[in-house]
C-alpha cells in the first residue's frame, strides 16, 4: 500500500505533566523516578570505591581523599537523602500495592511523609555520624 500523506489537521495529544496541577502524589512520583535514576548512576561511585579498595593503598587514598573533601561530603550527603527518599517512596508503593492508604487524605499524607521522613532521617543520620565520630 502506498504511503498516504500525513493529515494536516492537528492531532489531539494526550495530556502530559505541564497540563496538570501539581499535587503531592504526582510530585513524589516524579521524584521517585529522578532519585532512582540518580541512584543508578551512584552505583558507579560504589563500584569505584570498592575497586579502589581492592587495588591497594594508593588507589584507595585518592578515593578516600575525594569522599573526605567538601565536594565528596556534599555528594555523600545528597546520596544519603536520595537513597532514603527512594527507599521511603518504595515503602509507600508497597502500601499502595496492598491497596492501603489510597483514599485522598492518606495518599497525600503518605506522599508528604516521604519527603518529610527522608529529610528528617538524612539529618538524623549525619548528626549521629558527626556526634559519634
Amino acid at each position: 500500500m502506498a504511503p498516504t500523506a500525513r493529515p494536516t489537521v492537528a492531532q489531539p495529544l494526550s495530556p502530559h505533566l505541564q497540563i496538570y496541577r501539581w499535587t503531592w502524589t504526582m510530585a513524589m512520583s516524579v521524584f521517585h523516578r529522578i532519585t532512582g535514576t540518580a541512584l543508578y548512576g551512584g552505583t558507579a561511585l560504589v563500584a569505584i570505591w570498592l575497586v579502589a579498595l581492592a587495588s591497594g593503598p594508593a588507589a584507595y587514598g585518592y578515593v578516600a581523599w575525594f569522599f573526605g573533601s567538601i565536594l565528596g561530603r556534599l555528594v555523600l550527603f545528597a546520596y544519603t537523602w536520595i537513597l532514603l527518599h527512594h527507599m521511603l517512596g518504595g515503602l509507600r508503593h508497597f502500601l499502595w500495592d496492598f491497596g492501603l492508604g489510597l483514599d485522598r487524605e492518606r495518599r497525600m499524607w503518605l506522599s508528604r511523609g516521604t519527603l518529610i521522613g527522608s529529610v528528617a532521617l538524612t539529618v538524623t543520620i549525619w548528626a549521629l555520624a558527626l556526634i559519634l565520630r
Binding site: R33, G36, T37, L39, Y40, T43, A44, V46, A47, L50, V51, L53, A54, P57, Y60, G61, A64, F67, G68, L76, T80, L83, M87, G90, L91, H93, F94, D97, I125, A129, R133
Partner: protein, 137 residues
C-alpha cells in the same frame, strides 16, 4: 473497519495457538514481581550498607581492609550488590521503554542498560571477594 483476521477455516490452528509464545505470555508479571522482590530485599540491605559506609569513614587503608574482610560485612555487601543491580536494571528498563521512542535508540539504550548493570555488579563483586578473601591467602 476491514476484517483482516486470518481465515481460521483453512487451518486447524486456533487463534490462541498462533500467538502462544509470542510477546510476554507466561512471564507478564515477572518484571513487576522481581522489581518488588528486590525492593523488599534492598530496604534492610541499604540500612546495613549505610551503617557500613559510616563505619568506613575516616579509616586508614589497613583498617578499611580489615572491616571489609569481616564475613558479615562482605556477605551483606555481596547480597546488596546483587539485589541493587537487578533492581536498578529493571527500573531503568521501564524508564527507557517510557521515554525512548525511536526503535534503534531504544534497543541501544536497553543494551547499554544491561551492560552497565552487569559491569557495576561484576566490578563490585570482584572487589568485595578480592578484599574479603585476601587475608586467607
Amino acid at each position: 473497519m476491514a476484517d483482516n483476521r486470518q481465515n481460521t477455516n483453512v487451518s486447524i490452528r486456533t487463534p490462541r495457538a498462533r500467538v502462544q509464545g509470542l510477546g510476554p505470555s507466561g512471564h507478564g508479571a515477572g518484571h513487576w514481581w522481581l522489581q518488588r522482590l528486590t525492593a523488599a530485599a534492598n530496604a534492610p540491605l541499604m540500612v546495613a550498607f549505610v551503617v557500613i559506609i559510616a563505619l568506613m569513614a575516616g579509616r586508614s587503608y589497613p583498617e578499611a581492609v580489615a572491616l571489609m574482610s569481616h564475613p558479615l560485612v562482605a556477605l551483606i555487601l555481596i547480597l546488596a550488590v546483587i539485589s541493587v543491580t537487578l533492581h536498578m536494571r529493571l527500573g531503568m528498563q521501564v524508564i527507557i521503554e517510557d521515554y525512548v521512542h525511536d526503535k534503534g535508540l531504544r534497543i541501544a539504550a536497553l543494551f547499554a542498560n544491561n551492560f552497565y548493570a552487569v559491569i557495576v555488579a561484576v566490578a563490585c563483586l570482584y572487589a568485595i571477594l578480592r578484599v574479603g578473601l585476601s587475608r586467607l591467602a
